[in-house]
């Protein structure tokens, strides 16, 4: 069970979207995340860098048919921070409905 904790790094809309897409997966291709978020490579890179700096996301590069593919995945810390953030959001919603 994760401690409910608001995380402003994760809560920024695009970063929240990145984490939400990554959480049910082992990893996802950079291109897919970019297309889902409808942002440019540079915008996504900027957000990924912020998540990487916080230790939440890591990148893995792989060459397939001579083409470089970048895969993103949530670290254990990132997964735990995301779950904690979701728990906090749920707590806020529940406390307001009381």
């Amino acid at each position: 069970m994760n401690t409910a904790q608001f995380d402003s790094i994760i809560h920024a809309p695009k970063r929240l979207q990145i984490c939400s897409l990554l959480v049910p997966l082992e990893d996802a291709e950079f291109q897919l995340i970019r297309d889902q978020l409808e942002v440019s490579d540079s915008v996504l890179s900027k957000h990924v860098k912020q998540l990487e700096d916080a230790g939440y996301v890591k990148q893995r590069k792989e060459k397939v048919n001579g083409r470089q593919r970048t895969w993103l995945y949530l670290t254990k810390t990132g997964r735990s921070a995301f779950e904690g953030h979701v728990a906090e959001l749920m707590r806020i919603v529940q406390s307001s409905s009381l």
Binding site: D7, P24, L25, E26, A28, T77, M90, V93
Partner: protein
Amino acid sequence: MMNDNKTQINAEEAKVALEAIKELEKTSLQHSMPSKWFGVAISIVVGVLVFLISTGLRDYYVFPILALPLLIAIQRSKMKVTARTAETNKKNIIAITCLTAVMLALIFSAIYVHSLYGSMLGPIICSLLASLIVYWLSVSERNEHKSKINQDRT
């Protein structure tokens, strides 16, 4: 480094964020859903392999043996995501052991029938059974995936 920010948001914003999270998680799971055709192809290859082993057609073993990793590699290159694998627990180990035992039992039964009666019926039935088992497993995997997509986080 855990971010210990105490920023507060209102309930409405939290609700919107939770709904967005749920939708995106569903999108991710849809992308990681194993293809129906992959399940069909793998089950055919397994069936062919069981048939070849039980009839002793050793010259052709190489084709399904090569086809299996090839299919997995093609599927992997087509997919843009990797689904989270279930943690190795006692239940999974038992399931894999049972599947291996069933496959071996099918192969040995087919070999026995083939050597005893010289009939192709045994190998054909056993390979069909092996194919059906693998196909059923792939369908179960897809169904489990679908139920995960429809599952509510809250």
